[in-house]
Chain length 367, copies 4
Amino acid sequence: MGSNSFGTLFRMTSWGESHGSSIGCVIDGCPAGVELSGEDIQRALNARLPGRNSLVSARKEKDQVEILSGVFEGITTGCPIALLINNEDQDSSKYEPIKELLRPGHANFTYLQKYGIFDFRGGGRASARETACRVAAGAVAEKLLDTVGVKVVSYLKACGSYSSIEQAQMGDAVVRPLLFCLTNSDEEEMQAEIEKAKDAGDSVGGVVECVAFNVPVGLGDPIFEKVEAKLASAMMSLPAAKAFEIGDGIVAAQLLGSQHNDLFCSQDGKISCSTNHAGGVLGGITNGMPLIVRTHFKPASSIQKEQATVDMTGKTQKLVYPEGSRHDPCVAIRAVPVCKAMSLLVLADCYLMNLHASVKVKELFLK
Amino acid sequence: MGSNSFGTLFRMTSWGESHGSSIGCVIDGCPAGVELSGEDIQRALNARLPGRNSLVSARKEKDQVEILSGVFEGITTGCPIALLINNEDQDSSKYEPIKELLRPGHANFTYLQKYGIFDFRGGGRASARETACRVAAGAVAEKLLDTVGVKVVSYLKACGSYSSIEQAQMGDAVVRPLLFCLTNSDEEEMQAEIEKAKDAGDSVGGVVECVAFNVPVGLGDPIFEKVEAKLASAMMSLPAAKAFEIGDGIVAAQLLGSQHNDLFCSQDGKISCSTNHAGGVLGGITNGMPLIVRTHFKPASSIQKEQATVDMTGKTQKLVYPEGSRHDPCVAIRAVPVCKAMSLLVLADCYLMNLHASVKVKELFLK
Amino acid sequence: MGSNSFGTLFRMTSWGESHGSSIGCVIDGCPAGVELSGEDIQRALNARLPGRNSLVSARKEKDQVEILSGVFEGITTGCPIALLINNEDQDSSKYEPIKELLRPGHANFTYLQKYGIFDFRGGGRASARETACRVAAGAVAEKLLDTVGVKVVSYLKACGSYSSIEQAQMGDAVVRPLLFCLTNSDEEEMQAEIEKAKDAGDSVGGVVECVAFNVPVGLGDPIFEKVEAKLASAMMSLPAAKAFEIGDGIVAAQLLGSQHNDLFCSQDGKISCSTNHAGGVLGGITNGMPLIVRTHFKPASSIQKEQATVDMTGKTQKLVYPEGSRHDPCVAIRAVPVCKAMSLLVLADCYLMNLHASVKVKELFLK
Amino acid sequence: MGSNSFGTLFRMTSWGESHGSSIGCVIDGCPAGVELSGEDIQRALNARLPGRNSLVSARKEKDQVEILSGVFEGITTGCPIALLINNEDQDSSKYEPIKELLRPGHANFTYLQKYGIFDFRGGGRASARETACRVAAGAVAEKLLDTVGVKVVSYLKACGSYSSIEQAQMGDAVVRPLLFCLTNSDEEEMQAEIEKAKDAGDSVGGVVECVAFNVPVGLGDPIFEKVEAKLASAMMSLPAAKAFEIGDGIVAAQLLGSQHNDLFCSQDGKISCSTNHAGGVLGGITNGMPLIVRTHFKPASSIQKEQATVDMTGKTQKLVYPEGSRHDPCVAIRAVPVCKAMSLLVLADCYLMNLHASVKVKELFLK
């Protein structure tokens, strides 16, 4: 089974290398009848663009998306939706001088060992460039989930030594385009962290938090397709992801049961929880509370500082990235829209999976 | 696609409820030619047994496993391996008086919403009892991986407010049966944490660390089947899991690139890394360093303290578990062998997947 | 991915060898809320029993099925349904003297080449015994499909040189237990064919036809999951199956378009076809007409006549099955309930898959 | 799970409509290290081209394929291979006048019922145009299989009332480009059948036979992934396919066991069969004999003759395809290269699946 597909019923298959002619994806399983335009997808892609400001990679891409199939007169047809994005600024000359060197924190060593061949230009397939396809597919999932009211918000929660105490509330629009922070003061603090690292020729890690609101109760399938397992897999498949949390996450392991348990309450006949330590899940199934996850990203592996390494033959070498190499000082920034996309893809899949949990759906479906 | 199967090529399908007559699993995809006996599996199950001591559930189960198929004269045949474990101590009388109550931290609310029906006895399918099947299947994976030298060690890393600074080294045998700690002093500290919680009618969280040694370079499939994504999915599918880390994990997000990058070095023609912040992966593919992951578990949801809740109709109620109810004060203890099993299942699957990464295997395979 | 599972959403995983202690299966993905009892399954299994009369294998099995999980108080819970059938008459002594011989038409040669090991007793996994699990799982599918009115009828259509001209009509009960024929005269003719072969120490082939009535329009998913592709895969996975047809089948290839096209007509506002050459499908999707498929089975490979063969070392040998060996003179007879089961499994899966073809289901599902 | 993907390990995902801007596919799971160029794929596509002669559709397409990813310096990298084919002659004006009519034998009725929307232009997704992607992907599979010597030959076996008695032998090159027949006399007879139908404004059915030589022993996975089940699914997923046979196929059901059994023999230490009634499989696993399958295609549904039908509202109408509509008088002709492609896709997948049948491969794989 190919490893470039994600999802069971709402399934996207991604392809393309950092410095090939184009990248793209195919979304198979999107129900018919969803309104979808190129602009819907473009809007999401624009948030992830490189070259937007000095704190992200200088690579210039417009990421203009083209819908090649699966949409007829503005409506999805149930047929696979193919999306294409041309690579425009795929200058790989910077990689030529270092193509024999193993790059610390990068995948050229492991790809070479596994496949016996590696497209060294910009990391080939092992590049953050592939995340553009996730964002494009996520935008399609968002249109599907819009029909049932689900909203996902994503933002930079922490960076280097600074961590925000804010959490998104329903209706929050995260419009700060520089770093996707929830507040201005968060942005200032994190900007300082990033600039300090960048000025030192270094990079810095960060944390992205995603909150999904209006999630129907019942999404997620025990045992192995628990919603938190699918979200963990989704987030940990992102380049540079090193940890995943749901709800209280790592703090939960330090609590007592009486502190962590969310008590049930009832208002106007609707049962919910009075707190949300669990982060929106019970037994792997959504409980109607906001679904809250965090993903921790390591600092970008490409730094300006000289690093000791070896070449493919094992000979000791020094790695210095050529002048003008284009790297993100903090990959977590551009991971913000990508984490949102992954949440959407998981929820769209869980939503479709849930339609056959019980025969009750049948009673509604068939007149 | 059923949600009770795990793995792609080395695939286990699990079934059974806490208080049914039996539980079991089917392992499909184990290659022919692996030596396998019931004792191999029993040994692993015995480590997970409830009723072993006062710090785990008092339920008495022998977890005697029976191999029903797939093994002929002590050797796997390539046919599905069915394993059966009888439930012997499935006393569900304690659940009768509380069967109408929503239990904080438990899944009866979400199961009822999703399926319209719930086997309330001992949590039904949403019970840690199902993890016995994971351990049994993991023992089969271990036999397969034994043939290539992979060793997985698992231990209790933290509990409540105490966290150990130890990390397993190759050859460590984790024989402390009480809590599966690496050292006696760790055990004493964690035992104190658990007993304190238990005495207060409460429960406490904990962290399990798994280290895999001798992992071949090249396991894991980009993009969505990265080894860390599969491990995250595996661990986060465990009851009570709330966070997952690989390598430096959450700490990585607070580091600079120059601190986190593992530099390549070479000794006797063999390339490796001089440090292991990454935890054994690069680009989703194992790099030959020990594979290190941690899973964080919440405190058990069942506590002796009285809790406010509602019943199925939404009416306010008090939940007090009946005298003699059998619960784990710290689910992380018994999660130790389960996490090991999940690591083994992931690695067995990745190992088989890797056999067709390159046509080079063909040159060896066909005479 | 294991090869012992069938179906995507309604998914059964089968295990067990002809002469092991038991066989069984796990059904994962059956929606909650379906009424299901052991008798529902037993009834289906009884039709497939060996030892019923002189025209099928003399092996004595009661095929008593046990539901081990997934049903609570007579209702499916959405959890995996495990079924167990004990083998009672697994006398393998007859296989000892011939265990080194390659048996013409049998799989011991290919299993040995593929796996390097073979459970020679009764064919091991490569035995019609495994079809009992298909019948058991099919009975569960039938209960699900009952809720929407689908009915499947299956019968022996041809045997040796005799072919019936009958086709089942809605409401036909195929109660002739000897050979599952539609009419008495069909039964007499086919019985003569089988007895002639049996008396000559030989075996004979046959054809099974399945008709599904009340199939909802819209089942089947283009491109690769067309309903006829899934049915073909289902039927051709049966032991001894050599050909598959839908609708006019092989005759269709000899017709003109003007002869084969089913014209659309309309009655009381309901659109249907005036003929059914297509056999109930258009473009891989059911069109509401009866779904008609035929499966052609080779004569059983085990015959009483002496056959030339070689042993595992390649040395020329004579194969004579030991006195008292138990074989079916016409495997197509007992394939009748099995083909029905496979149809049911396919339709149950297609039915669930179809619930998310369009967002229209959502409008009904969510209040 | 999407329905537009085929294969488990060697997996292709297809997209695109008859009259969209382009069609294409993604091949995920092709091992690294296979030599692959655009010409390899183009050669296969050229055989399937419409507009080649008066006996196939007059649509003019060059089917120029572009490799967008997965190949670096002429070698596959293990990353997904995306292929793109532009549609150049997608004139849909002919479909405008009939877009409200249900077309006999076509899928617009069922698509509309299932999805609530249908891209009427040229059949949208339900068009033989999608088979170009299968041919392209098949060409990649062919390159992989080349490395182990497998050869697949495909040809028109029967057409209308004429059926050839020839069967391909190893080394046969089927170069007759008009109809892909094995001999000149076959071609003459079949040409007469097709022209007779065409002249009458009608269409005619046909049969395609595929033979695979040098297939390694051991391909195919019991129980549900038997090689004949996968081939049946592959072929029956083709537009217009109505029946599938392997080996003696439907004739097998009329034979006695003593006639059908292939006896084992041995020559120079190599065990094989002295006949090949089974068509190259035993127990679902290839036995080293040529793998022989036949697929039966109905006559094309689009004919020039007037046909009675109804429109979407159920009102009685007459369907006459507009002057200049482009249809195949015999779809079986262009199905010849498509059937070959499907065989190749199945065999490539089975070949990769077989690499982990036994731990013996490990002993070879790891030094």
